[in-house]
């Protein structure tokens, strides 16, 4: 049975591209092998670890269980797309660095893409909602605390709540000087 190929037209990191792919290829295969976007990592290839998370039309997906041919017409973003023209880090990336949210770094690309979706959603997630939104990622080094804090601070900054962001303590709890206002 000879191979089936298909041309996929989509936008990757803001650039319109066209690529002939084997229909059996996963989106992770296409991004890594054809476009050399090696930030997209294969941790389990069965949709359970989140290391392959990319943003498709604004939503986080596991690219390992997403067929490359399904990317037709989609707008796809990977970590490489977040760095500025001169290689400057975006604020969510800088937060991961500042809050010590990166150890081995293998889960980081996937985590940052979901965090990018969260901080750009404009919504203010409660702590539980935030943990639930990040629950699709496995990290075996950090114990998630610093990652949670990095996302929370960036979310608050995106909402303009700069001083509140500074109040977030090491456990990720916002320590209000006076008793916590009723929410």
């Amino acid at each position: 049975m000879d191979r089936q190929y298909k041309v996929v037209h989509c936008t990757i990191n803001g650039k319109k591209v066209e690529q002939v792919v084997d229909v059996r290829a996963s989106l992770t295969d296409m991004l890594r092998n054809d476009f050399r976007l090696t930030s997209v990592k294969k941790g389990c290839e069965v949709g359970e670890c989140g290391a392959c998370t990319v943003i498709i039309n604004g939503e986080g997906f596991n690219s390992c269980i997403y067929l490359a041919v399904w990317a037709e017409g989609k707008d796809i973003w990977t970590l490489e797309g977040l760095t500025g023209p001169g290689g400057e880090l975006s604020d969510i990336q800088q937060a991961f660095v500042d809050e010590g949210a990166i150890q081995c770094g293998f889960c980081t690309p996937g985590f940052i893409m979901t965090s990018w979706e969260i901080v750009n959603s404009g919504k203010e997630y409660t702590d539980d909602e935030l943990r639930k939104a990040l629950s699709g990622h496995l990290c075996r080094c950090t114990g998630y605390e610093n990652i949670f804090r990095a996302v929370k601070k960036t979310m608050l900054r995106h909402l303009g709540k700069y001083d509140e962001a500074e109040l977030v303590n090491s456990q990720g709890i916002t320590e209000y000087p006076e008793p916590m206002p009723f929410k």
């Binding site: 949709g47 359970e48 998370t53 269980i65 041919v69 939104a133 699709g136």
Partner: protein
């Protein structure tokens, strides 16, 4: 790269049906969060697939002319959870599907796929069972409707005939009107985990909210397929909302369910938590419906 023999991409529903006829051995690929994983694990290696992922016509939630809630089979879990109609009339389904896998899985997974894999642990199944959902399937002979209780034939087998595709899930008006429910998923982790046992209860109270007009309770992983505890339902039908009734109702479920031992949990544990979940889910449903126990 997936080990699949061939991939046929359907451009429309009819085209999908034709493809299934042309390739009788081909299997349907919706969101892929079950099928592609099994191809990867080898259980479905070398399979032919008909991909219906691009059929937007099978997506979305609406109220049809018969005032059924109509959920397109390709609607993803996350879209169901955030859908206003669902939140208004059957919010428990939104909560239930919001416990499937993780956010990324819920973005790709579809309710059609979740109900067609015939798996008793499917988070949506026990709730759909408890709300008497109706499966709409389309095939070479046209459209057919199957009540959910007849949908599950045996473990991993549903009433889907050759070249048929499940196109929607309907919740009849009579089934959702005035109803409030709650679903509990008992699992080891809060995400990316399969239910050890799932329990979905809904109630319709009397006008004066003192007595149970109707109570329904569905279970996942309490039997090879999702089941209803009819004996318990009949027991509590028309009774007052009292602690004893609630407790007895919970004890009665054991008559209907038949959990088994598995590496995930033993039979005794499942029977015990089934009772506890029944009581809790019922109490939550009562409060949601505005009722007061021993009121």
């Amino acid at each position: 790269m997936y080990d699949i023999k061939a991939l046929y991409e359907a451009e429309s529903l009819d085209h999908a049906v034709r493809l299934l006829q042309e390739h009788p051995s081909a299997q349907i690929l919706a969101g892929g969060s079950d099928v592609l994983v099994q191809v990867r694990e080898g259980r479905r290696a070398g399979v032919e697939l008909v991909s219906i992922y691009m059929l937007d016509e099978l997506r979305g939630v609406s109220i049809d002319e018969e005032e059924n809630i109509r959920i397109g089979s390709l609607t993803s879990f996350s879209h169901i959870t955030n859908d206003p109609i669902i939140q208004k009339y059957i919010n428990v389904l939104g909560e239930a599907v919001d416990m499937v896998g993780g956010p990324q899985i819920r973005a790709i997974g579809t309710i059609g796929g979740n109900t067609c894999n015939g798996v008793t642990s499917a988070d949506s199944a026990s709730t759909l069972m408890a709300w008497d959902a109706v499966m709409e399937v389309t095939g070479p002979e046209g459209v057919r409707r199957v009540p959910i209780k007849d949908w599950y034939i045996k473990a991993k087998v549903v009433d889907l005939r050759p070249a048929e595709i499940q196109t929607a899930i309907l919740i009849p008006k009579e089934s959702y009107e005035g109803c409030f429910g709650h679903y509990i998923k008992y699992s080891m982790r809060n995400a990316l985990d399969i239910a050890t046992t799932g329990c979905s209860v809904n109630v319709r109270l009397s006008e004066d909210k003192k007595t149970f007009d109707r109570v329904r309770i569905g279970y996942g992983v309490a039997a090879p397929v999702p089941v209803r505890a009819y004996t318990a339902e009949e027991f509590i039908q028309g009774k007052e909302i009292t602690d004893e009734n609630i407790k007895e109702f919970a004890e009665t479920v054991l008559k209907d369910i038949n959990p088994r031992d598995s590496w995930r949990a033993g039979r005794a544990l499942r029977r015990h938590i089934s009772v506890v979940m029944a009581e809790r889910a019922l109490r939550e449903s009562i409060s949601l419906a505005g009722g007061v126990v021993n009121g």
